[in-house]
């Protein structure tokens, strides 16, 4: 007979070797034989047994229903027939090659970026005199199982060879980029990042076109590369060196400006970017734009100037107090009226403005948390060696604060990515909005509603889940909150 008064203690004392238990728990996890494992983890007392049976039955029921929904009763034709529509919406079909090129360029950039990070880590390990260890390849693949599953679903739904070829090509490019970059020797990693930046901008501009201010964006990573290349410390004349670097950067910008003016090829306008592409792009642009704004707001909120503090706090609290959708409605109806533009801004631009203004308040709070986590002694140390206040912030506070906020920023990006589904409400065809078009087609009217929603939910889920896992891993790796 079990005594319900001592559920925990009894099972522990009742074990064969009571003394060995703490040792077993603190050491590496012991592999128990199945029978013992079942008794310890599922049936260790009467109510746990009951719970196991009830929850087990429930889970089994859900699993059976889900299986039959996915493989037997589910009518996936609407999704299968409109796979491209879900990815890029009504993006002009004869310009589709641009998207393909974009995917290829960006996967190559991703591979290079990961490789560059590995090369950097190897170099730092070498400098610190420790061995650089990586997880086994299988473990690394396991971390991305949700993304792999998403890819498989896409390939399964595709009825042409195109997506498979694209997948293979981009995987090959990513792998090639990774393999090449991870072998780069330490001091050149900085240049590698510039290449990643150039590819990133190129991937963007292959769709948006090479005109207007595009040369400026492309100029930034190239200028960084030129600056680094010209900056080899092989001269004693620092001033002359600086002058050469400056001239190099200016020449780069001038050449790029010339090239962009000469090419002047208009791509596909932002307003035509739709489907999943729009969700990812809008989230990326909005988070990138809101970061500087949020940083300024956070610094202002912690400033010693009461006027700045009050203004920043007011802005942050107002924005955090209203739902994003009210700002998006503002974007839809009258945000353009705040500016004196001759031609009305595109809906995409207005939506991005609203999302940026919204996210900046949240980014500010995240950065403020990071700033607060920097011990006061750091600032005092900076002051004591005679640095001016802005130098203390730039050289001592921000590097530590920003490192600590990376996981939270990833979390904010996930939340923003999920919020891009709200673009549906102001009439942008993002992933969720494409669904309505699909069910407006005469062939797919009134059925497959649950299926298309499950598909959309799964795409959002796979991307958000992978990113949130990565952010948790990053958090552990950076040791945030442990010091």
């Amino acid at each position: 007979m079990t005594d319900p008064q001592f559920p925990m203690t009894q099972t522990e004392l009742g074990a064969e070797e009571p003394i060995a238990i703490p040792v077993a728990e603190s050491g590496p996890r012991q592999k128990l034989p199945p029978g013992k494992w079942l008794r310890r983890n599922l049936f260790n007392n009467w109510y746990n047994s009951l719970l196991t049976i009830v929850i087990g039955a429930l889970l089994l029921f859900v699993a059976v229903r889900a299986f039959s929904f996915v493989f037997i009763t589910g009518r996936w034709e609407p999704v299968r027939a409109n796979l491209t529509l879900f990815q890029i919406g009504t993006f002009p079909r004869d310009e589709e090659w641009r998207v393909v090129a974009q995917v290829l360029i960006w996967t190559a950039a991703l591979g290079l970026g990961v490789g560059a990070a590995v090369a950097g880590a190897k170099f730092r390990a070498l400098q610190a005199g420790v061995e650089y260890v990586t997880d086994p390849a299988l473990d690394r693949l396991k971390r991305y199982w949700a993304l792999v599953l998403l890819l498989l679903v896409w390939l399964f739904f595709a009825d042409t060879i195109g997506p498979l070829l694209l997948t293979v090509a981009s995987l090959a490019l990513a792998w090639g980029g990774y393999a090449a970059a991870s072998r780069v020797s330490g001091p050149n990693v900085g240049l590698l990042w510039s290449v990643v930046g150039v590819l990133g901008v190129l991937g963007f501009q292959i769709v948006s076109g090479f005109f207007g201010l595009g040369w400026l964006w492309m100029g930034l990573p190239i200028a960084v590369a030129v600056y680094a290349l010209l900056g080899r410390p092989d001269t004693d004349d620092v001033k002359r060196q600086r002058r050469i670097q400056l001239i190099g950067v200016l020449v780069t910008f001038a050449v790029l400006f010339g090239v962009y003016t000469a090419v002047d090829s208009v791509g596909v306008e932002w307003d035509d970017w739709e489907g999943l592409q729009l969700n990812l792009l809008a989230a990326a642009i909005a988070i990138a734009l809101s970061f500087p704004l949020g940083l300024l707001l956070a610094l202002a909120r912690r400033s010693s100037f009461p006027a700045l503090r009050v203004m920043a706090t007011t802005y942050i609290e107002i924005i955090r107090g209203v739902p994003l959708i009210s700002l998006l409605l503002m974007a839809q109806f009258f945000i353009g009226f705040f500016l004196n533009t001759d031609t009305p801004l595109s809906l995409f631009t207005r939506a991005i403005a609203a999302m940026t203004l919204f996210t900046a308040a949240y980014v500010a709070e995240i950065v403020r948390g990071g700033l607060q986590a920097v011990p006061k002694g750091q600032m005092e140390a900076g002051n004591s060696i005679g640095l001016p206040a802005w130098k203390v912030t730039q050289l001592i506070v921000l590097p530590q604060a920003l490192r600590a906020v990376i996981p939270a920023m990833v979390g904010q990006f996930i939340s923003l990515f999920k919020d891009t589904s709200l673009l549906l409400i102001i009439g942008k065809l993002e992933l969720l909005g494409v669904r309505e078009i699909v069910h407006g087609q005469p062939d797919f009217r009134g059925f497959g509603i649950a299926e298309s929603l499950v598909y959309v939910a799964f795409v959002f889920w796979a991307i958000s889940f992978t990113m949130s896992r990565e952010s948790q891993r990053l958090e552990r790796k950076l040791g945030v909150g442990e010091r």
């Binding site: 955090r320 107090g321 409605l329 409400i425």
Partner: protein, 408 residues
């Protein structure tokens, strides 16, 4: 180390005046004035643009439209007269927003607490099921969940049309306990009779009496050490007085059973819920529950392990350990982030717009579509959410300060 000489600091004459552009105090003031002037100038410029542009588009900039008729019907709300002024529409929207918000909060709290505790269960299966729940709901946009409930489960889902609705009777009588259809659900409700005014007076008395009893029990417990049982006492007092008030008014409330109308287009009587409301409240409840579960889990883990060991040492059962030792401490840690989640939930009810739930955002958007000026309408919309959020934050901060003081 080379020998370093420390120079004595230069003598500073406190009376010596610093040139003004090197004086930190002056610079601070000047800096702030410049910053404020820039921001104010920017805002003034933006608003000037707005007013000019609105003028050019012939859009009014006053709030006179609030008194004009709304001119549209609110779906599933037969009581709303399209001729009533816009401000009444705002009130209806506000009521619906908070209705969905409160129901959502109740669902989120209950499910979140259960899932949060389950995630730390020693039962492997229970813990895994809870993790599955959290990881699924947390990573899907709430809008997708709302639309799933609204369209995949209701409009196009397994529920029948209203004309042939499923009716579940109360123990073999003809009274419907539940009417299920793909657009509206009906459950029994209460209808106010003529003398409800008398009841509300006794209701107020009942609340005051309950508070009084709770205070008395607390003081008694402080004096004598008897267990106060103040919740039971207060609730009992309240119920007794409220029920007496009900009969004193000659039956202030009467039970109303839902019935499908003869033409099969609506439900008469009872308490009626439309699919937009159910989808919004349920979806947001389940979505927010996944966030609350994580908060609860973190808070339980934040309670020092010694507390739980101490509970074991005095031979408390698992339930007692949670009820009297761990949860009271964990919930205190969990409170501020949980209230934040509640605020998010109430703000997220604006997503009910996707399943045409008549909350304030949908009504505002419809009203703008009917020619009401957008800037003022959206300003009112934002103002409503803002006031609510700020009030809750203030209360939370006050309460937080109080319980923190109790703690240490």
């Amino acid at each position: 180390m080379t020998q370093t000489t420390i120079e004595p600091p230069p003598e500073v004459d406190p009376n010596e005046s610093v040139v003004w552009y090197r004086n930190v105090r002056v610079l601070r003031v000047v800096g702030q004035v410049v910053a404020v002037a820039t921001v104010v100038g920017l805002i003034a410029w933006l608003f000037n643009n707005l007013l000019t542009n609105l003028d050019r588009q012939n859009i009014n900039t006053d709030f006179g439209f609030l008194d004009r008729p709304t001119n549209f019907e609110i779906s599933f709300d037969q009581g709303f007269d399209p001729r009533s002024p816009v401000w009444q529409m705002v009130l209806v929207g506000l009521k619906n927003t908070f209705l969905a918000g409160i129901v959502g909060i109740v669902i989120a709290s209950i499910v979140g607490l259960i899932v949060g505790i389950s995630r730390l269960s020693s039962n492997w299966l229970v813990a895994r099921a809870a993790t599955l729940y959290v990881e699924t709901f947390r990573n899907i946009p709430p809008l997708v969940i709302i639309i799933f409930f609204g369209f995949a489960i209701f409009t196009f889902g397994p529920f029948p049309l209203l004309s042939e609705a499923t009716q579940i009777n109360f123990l073999g009588t003809d009274d419907n306990l539940l009417i299920l259809s793909n657009t509206i659900w009906g459950i029994p409700g209460f209808v106010a009779e003529d003398n409800v005014g008398v009841f509300w007076i006794t209701f107020g008395v009942a609340v005051l009496a309950a508070i009084g009893v709770a205070i008395w029990r607390t003081q008694l417990s402080d004096r004598t050490g008897v267990h106060h049982h103040r919740v039971r006492w207060a609730l009992g007092t309240f119920l007794v007085i409220a029920i007496i008030g009900h009969f004193l008014a000659g039956g202030a409330w009467s039970m109303s059973w839902p019935v499908v109308s003869e033409n099969g287009r609506r439900i008469d009587g009872g308490f009626i819920m439309n699919f937009g409301f159910i989808a919004t409240a349920l979806a947001l409840g389940l979505y927010t529950a996944s966030h609350i579960a994580e908060i609860i889990r973190g808070s339980i883990l934040a309670v020092p392990k010694g507390q739980s060991e101490a509970a074991n040492a005095i031979a408390l059962t698992g339930f007692q350990r949670y009820r009297y030792i761990i949860l009271p401490q964990a919930l205190r840690i969990a409170l501020p982030p949980t209230i934040n989640q509640y605020l998010n939930l109430v703000k997220n009810t604006s997503l009910g717009i996707a399943v045409s739930y008549a909350e304030i955002t949908l009504l505002t958007k419809t009203s703008i579509g009917n020619g009401r000026p957008a800037p003022q309408s959206i300003a009112i919309l934002m103002g409503v959410y803002l006031v609510f959020s700020l009030v809750i934050s203030l209360l939370l901060n006050a309460y937080n300060r109080r319980i923190q003081l109790v703690e240490r």
